[in-house]
């Protein structure tokens, strides 16, 4: 029962995602305000039901709701274009870059013959051979170091961590070598490496596999960090990251891998340092990225119904911050609400970590 929205706003998230639904948490608060009628009654009624129906209800509303803004980029792609899931978009980006430049290689656990633990590198080993798509043993520290060493000589490795949490084992290599070599060598060596991996809360993956490591990596000088949220920007950012001369860490989210969207046929790359304006508005700016974008967009619908006009920006580039877009936006609205992961927006809680914990506990009972 997954509703598929083509080219629509962030509502593309309304496909098969989490089993626990944050809307369930929001619903009770909404019933506090009986003034707004039909939509929310439907929400409340379906509240007891687990996940998808609620989402479907919302997504259907979203199509109907005129306040939904369409993304500037995808509106240009209606017409030609092909539909694919986010991990396929990543794969396409990777494959195109590997075709284009023989220096690009992929290293990671199970990326080769297995096809990648999230199928991002499926089929690449057969196409490019074992020397370009390398299955490594389970030694993050060493193979991240090897990727960086190879990058010093001019190769462009794409290092996949099976889970961002595993990259903590390689933190020394990423922080000390990857980030600093360009500086300490006075510019002699560039490290055009891409470190990517899924992170974030999945479905009951446990504490160690559900970490968000952006804040740890934020403090490392010399690296760039980007987070993708839709198939369009996943492919674009992957390509841009591979072509960049800087080390780039590409954060993906476990639960976003099955997002479906239509993306252009022609080649495109996204700017690594730019934020994406998801929904222009007037009253208040909400900054978000990755999975939270979808939660914020849904909250935005409710806000619109309540008469607010939020501006939603998907910041995409976590380091360096796109202060230009953000600054302009905040100047316009004079209020901003960052939702790094858990946002609070008056009583319209998007998702709080505490609420995730409660929901998981409820599910586990």
């Amino acid at each position: 029962m997954a509703a598929r929205i083509h080219g629509g706003a962030g509502a593309g998230a309304a496909t098969a995602l989490s089993t626990f639904n944050p809307k369930k948490l929001v619903a009770p608060s909404r019933t506090n305000l009986p003034a707004r009628s039909s939509k929310r009654c439907i929400v409340a009624a379906a509240g007891s039901d687990a996940s998808k129906s609620l989402r479907v209800g919302h997504s259907q509303k979203l199509i109907a709701n005129a306040a939904v803004a369409t993304k500037a980029e995808t509106s240009a792609t209606t017409g030609t274009g092909h539909e694919l899931l986010l991990f396929e978009a990543l794969q396409e980006g990777l494959e195109e870059e590997m075709d284009r430049d023989p220096h690009v290689c992929v290293m990671g656990e199970d990326v080769g013959h297995y096809g990648g633990s999230y199928k991002v590198t499926k089929g690449l080993a057969d196409k490019f051979g074992d020397l370009r798509v390398l299955d490594t043993p389970i030694c993050e520290n060493a193979f991240t170091g090897m990727g960086i060493g190879a990058a010093m000589t001019g190769l462009r490795p794409v290092i996949e961590g099976m889970n961002m949490g595993f990259l903590l084992l390689a933190f020394n290599q990423i922080s000390n070598n990857c980030g600093m070599l360009h500086y300490t060598s006075g510019g002699q060596f560039t490290i055009p490496v891409v470190i990517r991996g899924p992170g974030g809360v999945g479905r009951q993956l446990g504490a160690e596999h559900s970490q968000r490591l952006e804040s740890y990596f934020q403090s490392i000088p010399g690296i760039q960090m980007v987070a993708c949220s839709t198939p369009y920007n996943a492919k674009g950012l992957m390509k841009a990251a591979i072509r960049s001369e800087n080390p780039v860490i590409l954060f993906e989210h476990v639960l976003l891998y099955n997002l479906k969207e239509k993306i252009p046929d022609e080649e495109y790359i996204c700017n690594l340092e730019e934020a994406e304006m998801v929904r222009p508005g007037e009253h208040i700016t909400i900054l978000t990225y990755s999975r939270m974008r979808y939660h914020v967009m849904q909250a935005a619908k409710t806000l619109v119904n309540k008469g607010y006009d939020p501006e939603v920006i998907d910041i995409r580039s976590l380091k360096p911050f796109d202060l230009y877009t953000i600054g302009n936006s905040v100047k316009k609205t004079h209020r901003d609400v960052p939702t790094p992961y858990a946002g609070t927006l008056e009583e319209w809680t998007v998702v709080q970590p505490a609420q995730i914990v409660t929901a998981v506990e409820q599910l586990c009972q």
């Binding site: 390398l134 030694c139 060493g149 000589t153 070598n177 360009h182 510019g187």
Partner: protein, 451 residues
């Protein structure tokens, strides 16, 4: 001293000189004397010739005796024609026996006879003396507070750098840890760059932004210069991977110490190298002390060459430049064909771990002076040069004086160099600048736009 002092002092086995041979000795001296006297007759100025126990003053002048010279060319003992006038530039081959045999693990050790030449011998002496002088000068600069931070000195271990350089090309990569001054010099770096970088000036090899531990030279494939112990070994295996990827027929020497030999990432990298058949050579410079901890207190198995288990290894006397040369040659051939190999260089450092470490709290002074007397690499080469009559004591002393002057000149020039500009703080953080603002500690004071 409970913490150290167990380094074995292997006395240096002098190469057997034919001059000491019981029977041949007198005849040889006579033959040499005739040969040399005839040679020098061609020279117009009087020279003082010293060889063995004889010092003869010869006056030159008769060109007609050149016929005699040509007849005497068939002398059995190879002898350099330059003898007191100028240091030899010819490449008369010399075979030298290493003082100790190689110990091998899972491979056949190479032979003990090393092919060398007179030119090489003198080069070795000169470069090692230069390295030694440079390190001692760095010591005094540190004490004069011109060099700050960390300074890890390599004196005592010069033979490893020299022997390695003798057999590899500029395409073969070397990566090492923080004791990198001499290896940088061996790779073609200049003294001026070294001192400028040590003192943080902008003409340094890393523009003053790296310091003692971050020397790099991209055009000669010297990948540095790393502060974190052991982290350079996976980097080195990655460089070997890249060399294999582009099919370069080059190898990578990833150097580390006995302290780093206990790092896990080493074994991880070795596993991958062996799996993928990478041309990486792991060189353990075993100076028996990991900062303040002796190897017997840090490693259950101090045979670092065996630690590779399935990877072959070779134990080499690291104070003998020719043994190092032979081992590196062997290793390079091995790595190009069969994948990784470990070399353990048994060496010693005279200084402490770094300048803040006196070096005597965990070792005995007797041990240090004992090694200096018995196994010093420069002394060894000096004795070889003298016994092969390639130069006199005086000439070698003159060479050392010249080197001293060269080092002093480089220091003076580096002292004159300017410090890097403040805007350099923000360059090279990213390759392409973003034009975004970057702030210093005080947001209002230090601001710069990233280029």
């Amino acid at each position: 001293n409970k913490r150290g002092g167990r380094v074995k002092l292997q006395p240096m086995v002098m190469p057997q000189s034919e001059f000491d041979h019981a029977e041949k000795e007198g005849a040889l001296y006579g033959k040499v004397m005739v040969h040399e006297s005839v040679e020098f007759l061609l020279v117009q100025k009087p020279v003082s010739v010293a060889f063995g126990r004889f010092a003869v003053k010869i006056k030159g002048g008769d060109m007609a005796l050149s016929r005699l010279t040509s007849r005497s060319n068939g002398i059995s003992r190879p002898l350099s024609t330059a003898f007191g006038r100028f240091i030899s530039t010819d490449t008369t081959p010399i075979t030298i026996e290493t003082s100790l045999p190689f110990t091998a693990h899972l491979c056949d050790p190479p032979s003990r006879s090393v092919e060398s030449s007179t030119q090489e011998l003198l080069d070795f002496f000169r470069t090692m003396a230069l390295m030694r002088r440079m390190e001692i000068a760095a010591d005094s600069l540190y004490k004069a507070k011109l060099i700050r931070g960390f300074c890890h000195l390599y004196d005592g271990q010069e033979a490893v750098a020299i022997g390695m350089e003798a057999v590899i090309t500029k395409k073969d990569a070397i990566i090492t840890a923080y004791r990198d001054h001499c290896i940088f010099l061996g790779r073609g770096g200049s003294l001026y760059e070294v001192f400028a970088e040590l003192m943080g000036r902008q003409d340094g090899c890393s523009k003053g932004k790296g310091g003692s531990m971050h020397f790099y030279k991209k055009d000669s494939s010297f990948y540095g210069g790393h502060g974190i112990v052991g982290a350079q070994v996976p980097l080195g295996c990655g460089i070997a991977f890249a060399q294999k990827y582009v099919k370069e027929e080059a190898v990578t020497f990833a150097m580390y110490g006995d302290g780093a030999a206990n790092q896990g990432q080493l074994f991880e990298a070795l596993n991958i190298s062996a799996l993928w058949d990478l041309p990486s050579i792991l060189v353990c410079e075993n100076n028996h002390y990991g900062m303040g901890t002796a190897e017997w207190r840090a490693a259950k198995s101090p045979s670092y060459y065996k630690r590779g288990d399935y990877v072959p290894g070779l134990k080499v006397d690291g104070m003998d430049a020719f043994a190092v040369k032979q081992a590196c040659k062997f290793a390079k051939e091995h790595a190009l064909k069969n994948g990784p190999i470990i070399l353990e260089m048994d060496t010693y450092r005279y200084h402490g771990h770094s300048m803040s470490d006196p070096g005597s709290t965990y070792r005995t002074r007797d041990e240090i002076s004992g090694v200096r007397q018995e196994r010093d690499p420069i002394e060894r080469i000096k004795k070889l040069v003298l016994s092969h009559d390639l130069a006199t004591e005086k000439e070698l002393k003159d060479m050392e004086k010249e080197i001293r002057k060269e080092v002093d000149d480089a220091i003076a020039k580096a002292k004159d160099c300017s410090m890097p500009e403040p805007s350099e703080l923000f360059t090279n953080v990213y390759v392409k600048g973003f034009g975004t603002k970057s702030f210093g500690a005080d947001r209002k004071e230090v601001k710069a736009a990233l280029p």
